[in-house]
Symmetry: none
Amino acid sequence: MKMSDIITAHILNMLEQSEYDTAEIQRNEFAALIGCVPSQINYVLSSRFTPEHGYVIESRRGGGGYIRISRVRLDKSSALMHIINSVGNELDSSTARILIENSRQAELISKEAAELMQAAISSPVLHEIPPIFKDSFRAAVVKQMLLALIN
Amino acid sequence: MKMSDIITAHILNMLEQSEYDTAEIQRNEFAALIGCVPSQINYVLSSRFTPEHGYVIESRRGGGGYIRISRVRLDKSSALMHIINSVGNELDSSTARILIENSRQAELISKEAAELMQAAISSPVLHEIPPIFKDSFRAAVVKQMLLALIN
DNA sequence: TAATCAAAGGTCAGTAAAAGTCAAATTTTG
DNA sequence: CAAAATTTGACTTTTACTGACCTTTGATTA
C-alpha cells in the first residue's frame, strides 16, 4: 500500500473519531509514527485535503506547533440542516411533497434523491401502516433521509 | 495465439475469479508477466474492454499506480426488477440491510441511494410505527424505492 | 529588553515510478 | 492485394517521495 494512502487513511480515521470533524497532529511526531519523512505529510495534505475536497488546514510553527485538519460543512449541508430542523414531529402529505420539491429546486438534493424520497412516502408504503401514524412517520422518514445526505 | 488474445484471456480470468467482477493490475508488472510491451495493455483495454463491451476502466499513474477493470451490468433495470420481485410482503431488518448492501456492491444503485434507503428504514423511523407493521413497512419502502430507481 | 536558541512547520526542486499517447512497422484477414 | 488489426517503442504526463534549506514561534539568557 502506498505511503500517501496510509497517511490519508490515518487522517480520515482521526476525523472519523473526532466529534467535531477535526484532527490535530504534530507533523514530526505523526511522520515518525507512520514511518515517513515529515514533508510527505504536507504532500498528502496539499494533494488530498484541499478546500475543493472539503477540508481546511490550519497550522502553527514553533514550539508546540500543530497542524489541524477540519472537514468543513459545505453550505448545502447547513441549508439541509436548517430544513431538517424546520420539520416538526408531524408532516402531512402535501407539505412533504412541497418540501422535497423545493429542496430539489434549490439543488440541495439530486433528482435521484428526490425521487427516492417521494417513493419512500408514497401511497403503497403508507398503505402498510395505520392512518394515525402517517404524519409522524413522514416526518421521521424525511428527516432521516435528509440527514443521510449530510453525512 | 495472438498476444492480445492472451492478455484478454488473462483479464477475463481475473474477472472470473473476482467476487465483484473487478480486476486490478499494475501495467508494467502485468506486461512483464505475460511478456509483452506495456503499451499493449492499453491497446487491449481500449479495443476490447470498452464501456460498449460492458467494462469500465479506472487508473492512476505515479508510484503505486494501477489499472482497474470492472465488468458493469448494463441491464441494471432488469436486475433491480428481479430483486424487487424477490421481496415478499415482509422484510426483516437484517435481510433488508443485506439486500441494500448487495445491490450497492453490484453497482445497481448509487452510494447515495443506498444511504437513503438505509435511512428510510432506520430505527428512528421505525420507532414511529407499531412493531407489528415493521416488516411489511420495510418491504413496501424497499420495493417502492427500488422501483423509483427504475423509472 | 534585546539577542539568541531551539523547536516546530513550510517550500521547492529534483528523482523515481507509474500509466498514457501516438504513429510507424508488422501481421492477419477477407 | 488491400484493409483492418496488432505490435512496438519513443516520448509525455501524472503522481509519489525525499532531503536540503527556509521561516515562524516561543523560551531563555545576557
